[in-house]
């Protein structure tokens, strides 16, 4: 069966877009082939900085003939109806239609439309221009003479103005070959913009720029390889990773792993050549994070560690050519650029160190945090007060927490953080240490941003915890106060992440932190409740990710005043424990029975059966099981209350389970809807009592399954 080979050759495609584009090309072409009635055995897309390529093998040579019958109007229908039918069916005369009979509707016309199958080449030639014109690049552009306005006396006749072909960068040539393995494939000929498809591609921009004639995928890949182009990005990545490792190993070093950088460099070269350079050892005085970022971000080079784990003064660069001089000039050039970058970094570092951190922090008075929430300095003051107040909760010294909070954002105006915003906190820590701040204060400056994502660790040192909590809670209450809450996918101030951060810090450190009193300092009751329910939602997501049941969390949050995250989670765990037992499951069944009866009767009678059952009546006229239940329930209530006071939720759950035999016996032997209305009312009140007792622990009505 024939194979299809496509290559779209262009000026340099941004590295970050290549992988997606190769996939898009594959999807759009193969979907188009299938839609046109062809089948294929397999397909694979490739990308280099200058080309997208696609091979599709085992394509059917023709699509099948299709015969379609289209029902028309009845015989003798008005002329207009007949004309419309002929037009839509593509018939010249009504004599070309056949007549069919239907017992109900009588005789009517049927057009038989035969669509002969089409050659795959024809389908491809029609499909490709559409794929190219509608390609889903994240950003695309126009170029060249074709982009001149079509009605201008200055433009070529075929200019199209703003309607001209768009591509990620100028598209320069198209290769498209189709044919069976046994024969010479042929060019699938089509035109897009001013480009005519052909059988030509080009090699490496500098090492083998000449045109190459290609027949099929099997000779395309080796011919490119001979022309210093590695087509497969996976292979380029492997070459980079292996060469880097070997070069490092030969010197006794280790590459600092960086998969993102391997991907990016593989998207910047067609022929990867890894080279090692060095920089002045004196630069190693600069913080390691700064060196790594400078070299990685600006220069897209890898850094290396020595056997002792410290950074070395070497780096690895990935060049795009085998230079005639073995890379001497390239290394020398890169070394000079890196030296200049590092000396810039050192300049910032020294400048920053020359001013005390407190003075840098004072500059935050001129920086707006948010129009409605004041300056960064005002924010810092709030965080410091809150951190001091939270200190006892986390066992930190209030003065240390306040000190760390006051300095926590002070590095934002420094030169280094201006240059590398991702070093916020990291630089603050270095500057704090340099001016003799306590180690836990300095660490807290760095760690108060944690956790930055689901995979990031939470701070565990008390001062860092206090500042981290204060920072996030200030942000959340602030944005709630001005009614800027996340909606749908929009969360510009990362409030979901802040709430999740609070949740994780509290839970992973086992902190007792009732939230409502903190919220109510800044928010009215309704808004505070709304923020708490936002936390409930985030907690649900968090616990669900850890495998907890959604409905159990609902059952606990339905209780009034649940603002202590740790207690909520303990209760959920205890509830899960109870429900995992037979007692728990049976108790749930009994609960539902009681709740169902109550609901039905309360609805029927239009009243609720709250209030104390008449004990005397039970003792005089009630059944044994009823008397037993009353006794047990009073006991259980007392036990549950005792355990809840001690925050022993498992104990409370176990106490609830004591209800089970008495409840079972009650349902087995007692008729709730007794003839005697007093007895009936009393029994309903007894059921209500069960429901209430259980609701003291969790809202069992929310539990599903």
């Amino acid at each position: 069966m024939p194979d299809l080979l496509i290559e779209l050759f262009s000026e340099e495609i941004p590295a970050r877009m290549q992988a997606r584009a190769a996939e898009d090309l594959k999807r759009l072409v193969t979907d188009g082939l299938v839609e046109a009635g062809l089948t294929y055995e397999g397909a694979k897309g490739f990308a280099t900085p200058r080309r997208l390529a696609l091979t599709v093998h085992g394509v059917t040579a023709r699509s099948a003939d299709v015969k379609e019958e289209r029902k028309g109007p009845r015989v003798g229908a008005p002329e207009k109806a007949l004309e419309g039918f002929l037009r839509s069916a593509g018939l010249a005369s009504i004599d070309d239609a056949k007549i069919e009979s239907d017992p109900k509707k009588g005789d009517f016309y049927v057009a038989v439309i035969e669509k002969p199958g089409r050659a795959a080449e024809e389908i491809v030639a029609e499909l490709l221009p559409q794929v190219i014109r509608n390609f889903p690049w994240p950003k695309s552009m126009r170029w060249g003479a074709a982009s001149a306005p079509k009605d201008s006396r200055f433009a070529d006749a075929d200019a199209l103005g703003t309607g001209s072909l768009r591509w990620v960068r100028p598209l320069r040539s198209i290769l498209c070959m189709f044919g069976p393995e046994t024969e010479d494939p042929e060019i699938v000929s089509f035109r897009v913009g001013d480009i005519e498809s052909g059988n030509v591609t080009y090699g490496h921009r500098f090492m083998a720029p000449d045109a190459i004639r290609v027949r099929r995928f099997d000779d395309y890949v080796p011919k490119l390889e001979a022309a210093k182009v590695v087509l497969d990005p996976e292979r380029r990545r492997n070459i980079i990773a292996t060469e880097a490792k070997n070069l490092a190993f030969a010197q006794g070093f280790e590459v600092v792993e960086d998969a993102g950088l391997i991907d990016e460099t593989a998207g910047l070269v067609e022929w990867p050549v890894v080279l090692m350079g060095r920089f002045d050892e004196a630069f190693l005085e600069i913080p390691e994070e700064v060196i790594r970022l400078t070299i990685r971000q600006n220069q897209k080079c890898f850094v290396l560690r020595g056997a002792d784990g410290a950074l070395t003064n070497r780096f690895l660069l990935v060049s795009n050519i085998e230079a005639r001089d073995g890379g001497k000039e390239i290394i020398a050039g890169n070394e000079r650029v890196i030296a200049a970058r590092l000396s810039d970094a050192r300049f910032f570092y020294e400048q920053d160190l020359a001013t005390p951190l407190g003075e840098w922090g004072a500059k935050l008075e001129a920086v707006t945090f948010h129009d409605k929430l004041g300056t960064q300095a005002e924010r810092v003051a709030r965080i410091a007060t809150l951190a001091g107040a939270l200190a006892p909760v986390v066992d930190a010294k209030p003065e240390e927490a306040e000190r760390a909070a006051k300095l926590a954002k002070a590095d934002l105006p420094t030169g280094m953080v201006g240059e590398f915003p991702e070093l916020q906190g990291v630089m603050g820590r270095y500057y704090a240490k340099a001016q003799g701040e306590a180690a836990n204060v300095a660490d807290a400056i760095r760690d108060h941003y944690k956790p930055q994502g689901p995979g990031d660790a939470v701070p565990s040192e008390p001062v860092a915890m206090a500042v981290a909590l204060a920072d996030k809670l200030d942000t959340l209450t602030g944005f709630w106060a001005i009614d800027e809450k996340p909606t749908g996918s929009k969360d510009p101030f990362a409030l979901r992440r802040a709430a999740l951060g609070v949740i994780r810090i509290v839970l992973e450190n086992g902190l007792r932190l009732p939230l409502l009193p903190l919220f109510s300092k800044r928010l009215d009751e309704t808004t505070a409740a709304d923020l708490l329910s936002f936390f409930a939602d985030r907690l649900k997501v968090h616990l669900r990710d850890q495998g907890a049941r959604h409905d159990l969390i609902d059952a606990v949050f339905a209780l009034p005043g649940q603002d202590d995250l740790l207690m909520v989670v303990r209760r959920v765990e205890a509830l899960a424990g109870l429900l995992a037992s037979d007692d728990g499951q049976n108790l749930l069944t009994s609960y539902r029975r009681a709740a169902n009866i109550l609901r039905a009767e309360e609805k029927k009678d239009g009243k609720s059966y709250t209030g104390e059952p008449d004990h005397a009546l039970i003792h005089e006229k009630g059944e044994a099981a009823e008397r037993e239940l009353l006794a047990v329930i009073e006991n259980v209530e007392a036990h549950v209350e005792k355990h809840l006071k001690l925050e022993d939720f498992s104990g409370a759950m176990a106490s609830l389970a004591e209800l089970r035999p008495a409840v079972d016996a009650f349902f087995d032997h007692v008729t709730v809807n007794a003839e005697d209305t007093n007895l009936r009312e009393n029994r309903l009140k007894l059921l209500n009592r069960i429901r209430e007792a259980m609701h003291g622990v969790a809202d069992f009505s929310k539990i599903g399954g």
């Binding site: 340099e12 950003k139 695309s140 552009m141 306005p149 960068r169 660069l317």
Partner: protein, 312 residues
């Protein structure tokens, strides 16, 4: 052409030699070689030969050196790489020719960068000028890891879609010269290509200026006067555009006041940069100033399309 070039004019030994080599190269490619625009601008793009000429349907090819002022980049002459005044070499080709990348690489070869021993790369860099209401797609061009040029296909300028699209090349001349001369400090560049007593360095020409202007930009520029200058320039730009528009409406024919109005837009932009360096513009105000300059640029662009050079 190398055989005709004396040693002191070699781009690898002389800053002015580098400039003259580029002038010669682009002149040979059919460009109009212009002299720098006689106003303070932040980048070569602000020159009307790029901003305004990139609008409308008329073909255009030009190249020129443009002194560029970046007041906040002043370092009192103490930083080996940063200057508040430096030279850009600017090339604009409209419509962008199909071999623009090859033409660019040819210019590197002309100034002594041999592509068989250097690693030349086109790395994604989308260009945007919020003050000019302009954007384009292209690359920063790397030579051995150093950015030596910007390469942009203009898509929109002054808020107007470019038709046809121009190709713009911007070379950072000092950086390029440092590279080809093998110098690590900009002030050590050989300016005139001579040696011994006749040698003039970049520092001889510009160090004092960097020191004085850094003090001016950061300490002495009178912010009260600058704020007024900004308002004056803004008002003048709008008034001139209105005058040209009214004349055109009254007498028919093209708008005849665009270039003078655009000068005022340039002035407003530079005054804004100075105010920014003086640190008197808060982040929220900053956005507002940028929008004010942009609306001037957009108004100039619209008016340009009503002129003869704009294709009207």
């Amino acid at each position: 052409m190398n055989e005709a070039v004396p040693a002191h004019m070699s781009p690898t030994r002389s800053f002015q030699g580098l400039i003259l080599t580029l002038q010669r190269y682009w002149a040979d490619k059919g460009c109009v070689i212009l002299q720098p625009y006689d106003m303070e601008v932040g980048a070569g793009t602000f020159h009307p030969a790029t901003t305004l000429r990139s609008l409308g349907p008329r073909p255009w090819k030009a190249a020129y050196v443009q002194p560029s002022r970046r007041p906040t980049d002043g370092r009192y002459g103490k930083n080996p790489n940063r200057l508040q005044h430096y030279y850009q070499y600017q090339v604009i080709l409209k419509p962008s020719p199909p071999d623009l990348q090859a033409l660019y690489l040819g210019s590197l070869e002309a100034i002594g960068i041999d592509a068989s021993v250097h690693d030349i790369r086109f790395v994604e860099d989308d260009w945007e000028s919020p003050t000019l209401g302009a954007w384009g797609l292209g690359w920063e061009c790397w030579c051995d890891g150093m950015e030596v040029s910007q390469f942009t296909y203009f898509q929109q300028v002054c808020g107007v879609d470019c038709a046809p699209v121009s190709g713009e090349l911007t070379y950072g001349l000092e950086r390029l010269a440092m590279y080809v001369q093998g110098v690590d400090n900009v002030y050590d560049l050989n300016f005139n290509g001579r040696e011994g007593a006749e040698r003039v360095s970049y520092g001889d020409v510009f160090l004092q200026a960097e020191q004085e202007y850094s003090r001016h930009n950061f300490e002495h520029a009178d912010t009260g006067k600058l704020l007024r200058h900004f308002q004056d320039a803004e008002g003048e730009c709008e008034a001139l555009l209105a005058a040209g528009r009214d004349e055109a409406a009254r007498n028919g024919g093209p708008h005849r006041m665009v270039l003078p109005a655009y000068d005022q837009c340039i002035k407003a932009s530079h005054v804004f940069n100075l105010l920014d360096a003086r640190g008197v513009i808060s982040p929220t105000e900053r956005q507002n100033y940028i929008l004010r300059v942009r609306s001037l640029a957009i108004a100039c662009g619209e008016a340009w399309l009503m002129t003869e050079a704009g294709g009207a």
